[in-house]
């Protein structure tokens, strides 16, 4: 190893080149579906991140809104103000393109936070269950089994409902986003816990864990420093698929009126609003948020599918 770094002739290719030539990247470069999906996700992520810079209007500042602009069709100048809006406006005269950008922000924020929280809960409980075993394992996995028999969306709804009952009415709108994140995370941790436990049970009996135990490392460093890196690759796959599910779950809850409040509309809230104009002909209020949500969920799903195949050599 030390010889190699000294002699430039036999030095290994740079890290970047190694990475570029790895199986993982190779399979990515040769999958047009994965490339397109990643592009779509990247564009939507950037759009959400820089929403305040990109959005032509601030949909949450009433001073910039003009009610005369209400129901302007996409790309057609408004009859009264002569202003043109790329994707039209809603009943309040809010620019649909801008509300989508801000909605995307909330959808992605809730989705990503929920998956991260679910991942932390699931990975910790899964590792502890596998490593400690005994009663701890039985209790954790029993709870997981029971929760798994209920659909995640139902669990999320119930948690949301209970939280709504506990929080005082004046804080409900402020708290809604955080409650939503916790509700979706608590409905989703089981997947992580089960997979991590399965993988950790295998790792637990390997020699490196026994060696670490032998030299006297405590259970916490063994679990999180030694075993954790070895159980992470299935976690990566699950978190991508979970992200798509979490985004859809958030949209569904908001669509049902038990999610993001009207003051902070997510894509689901926008679709809920748009549904009201389905029969009166203002199709753009409904169509564009729906397409955005669909593109986001579909491309994350496709990316997850590809990742699962790429990380599982058996399928190649």
């Amino acid at each position: 190893m030390s010889d190699m770094t000294k002699d430039p002739a036999t030095a290994r290719p740079s890290r970047l080149a190694t990475f570029w030539d790895s199986d993982f990247v190779w399979s990515f470069r040769h999958s047009p579906v994965a490339i397109i999906a990643l592009l779509v996700v990247a564009v939507l992520l950037l759009a959400a991140l820089f929403a305040p810079l990109i959005a032509p209007h601030d949909p949450f500042n009433p001073a910039t809104l003009n009610l005369m602009n209400g129901f302007t069709a996409p790309g057609v100048p408004n009859a009264f103000t002569q202003e043109t809006f790329l994707l039209g406006t809603d009943d309040q005269g809010r620019d649909v393109f801008s509300t989508i950008l801000y909605g995307l922000r909330i959808s992605l924020f809730v989705g990503i936070s929920a998956v991260m929280l679910a991942m932390i809960i699931g990975v910790v409980l899964g590792l502890v269950a596998a490593y400690v075993g005994g009663w701890t394992e039985t209790i954790i996995m029993r709870v997981a089994d029971v929760q798994l028999t209920f659909p995640a969306i139902l669990v999320a709804m119930l948690i949301f409902g209970i939280a709504k009952g506990i929080t005082p009415p004046e804080y409900r709108n402020e708290m809604a986003i955080w409650v939503l994140i916790v509700a979706i995370a608590l409905s989703d941790w089981v997947q992580f816990a089960r997979v991590v436990r399965g993988a950790a049970l295998v790792e637990k009996n390997k020699e490196y864990v026994q060696a670490a135990r032998l030299i006297g490392r405590g259970p916490i460093p063994i679990m999180f420093r030694h075993m954790l890196p070895n159980v992470l690759s299935p976690v990566l796959v699950i978190s991508t698929i979970s992200l798509a599910l979490a985004i859809i779950a958030e949209a569904t809850l908001s669509f049902l009126g038990v999610g993001a409040p009207p003051t902070q509309p997510s894509l689901g809230t926008l679709i809920r609003i748009g549904q009201g104009y389905l029969f009166s002909g203002e199709w753009w209020i409904l169509l564009f948020p729906s397409i955005t949500l669909l593109a986001l969920a579909l491309s994350i799903n496709l990316l997850g599918d590809w990742l699962r195949d790429a990380l599982n050599p058996k399928l190649r």
Binding site: F150, G165, F279, L293
Partner: protein
């Protein structure tokens, strides 16, 4: 076998008791029931009387026991919002949800299995590939968007089918059915497709992957070598052996249909239990939420139990394992 059944039933009872505890805690700790039930003009005597009437002065375990006793008899108290007994409201709403779930479950199973077998047999055909691609989109498409899309096509553009409600219903005893009128049947079409589509794609993909695995097995190759007809091989030999996982997933999906009915019922304003539950969450109507929670968990636990026991009926190998375990 008997030991296994007893153990499973015992586990189910424990799950129900825990769910009951959650439901009861909602009653007890989310808001003050006395506050919720008495109006602005109340006196301390009113409060004390109601507290004694509701048994709120008793210790927690006694209250929990009383709650369970009431729940078993179908008594969940009075809805905060409608002021009527929850059991009556749910009984009114249940037929709508059950009829919807029945039709969409039937659609999902019959079409799902048929398409699954088809795509497995013709796995390189254009039709099969198209179906598989469409199903991937179907899985990514949230239920409510499917509903809106169907409403847009069949109600707004084509004006063929109603976009909301159950149409005319006929009252038979305590059961209101939409099966007997033309408008009731028409109203069922869009919601049941919306509700069944996701489960259908799931069953289809599962049947397909199981079939592909089984079709590679030696006994299928042997059956082909014996010169049996394709139909007999596919349906008598292959499909039969895919049924164990299919029945598990289908059984569990039956419960999901009831849960996902919440979404479909909201999109189509279908007057079922799901819509009731969503409204209860919006208005923090605790008794209705608790009753729904209990009801749906009884259903889920029951379905799980039945699915587990069905294994024994379908897969003889498990019976041997069960005896030795």
């Amino acid at each position: 076998m008997l030991a296994y059944i007893i153990r499973r039933v015992f586990q189910s009872v424990i799950v129900l008791l825990v769910v009951g505890l959650v439901a009861f805690s909602m009653f007890r700790f989310v808001g003050d029931p006395v506050d919720n039930m008495l109006g602005q003009e109340r006196t301390q005597t009113d409060i004390d009387r109601l507290r004694t009437d509701l048994g709120l002065d008793k210790p927690f375990p006694v209250q929990y026991f009383k709650f369970l006793q009431g729940a078993v008899q179908g008594n969940f108290g009075v809805s905060y919002r409608q002021g009527r007994p929850v059991s009556t409201i749910i009984a009114e709403r249940a037929p709508a949800t059950l009829e919807l779930a029945l039709v969409s479950g039937f659609l999902a199973i019959s079409i799902g299995i048929a398409l699954g077998v088809f795509t497995a047999i013709r796995r390189n055909g254009i039709a099969a590939n198209t179906i598989m691609t469409l199903s991937l989109i179907g899985v990514s498409l949230p239920t409510f968007l499917i509903g809106i899309l169907l409403i847009y096509i069949f109600s707004v553009e084509l004006d063929l089918l109603p976009s909301f409600g159950r149409g005319e219903t006929v009252q038979i005893g305590g059961w209101s059915t939409g099966f007997l009128t033309a408008s009731g049947l028409k109203a069922l079409i869009l919601p049941s497709i919306t509700l069944g589509l996701y489960q259908m794609t799931l069953i289809m993909r599962l049947v397909r992957s199981e079939m592909l695995e089984v079709l590679r097995a030696d006994y299928v190759r042997f059956a082909r070598a014996r010169g049996l007809a394709e139909r007999a091989i596919n349906f008598r030999h292959a499909l039969k052996n895919t049924l164990v996982p299919v029945i598990t997933v289908t059984g569990l999906q039956l419960g999901s249909i009831i849960a996902f009915a919440i979404i479909t019922e909201t999109v189509f304003q279908w007057p079922g239990v799901g819509l009731l539950f969503i409204n209860a969450i919006q208005f923090v109507d605790i008794p209705v939420m608790a009753a729904y929670l209990m009801l749906i968990s009884v259903m889920f636990v029951g379905i799980n139990l039945i699915v587990d026991l069905l294994y024994f009926a379908i897969d003889p190998r498990l019976r041997v394992d069960g005896r030795t375990a």
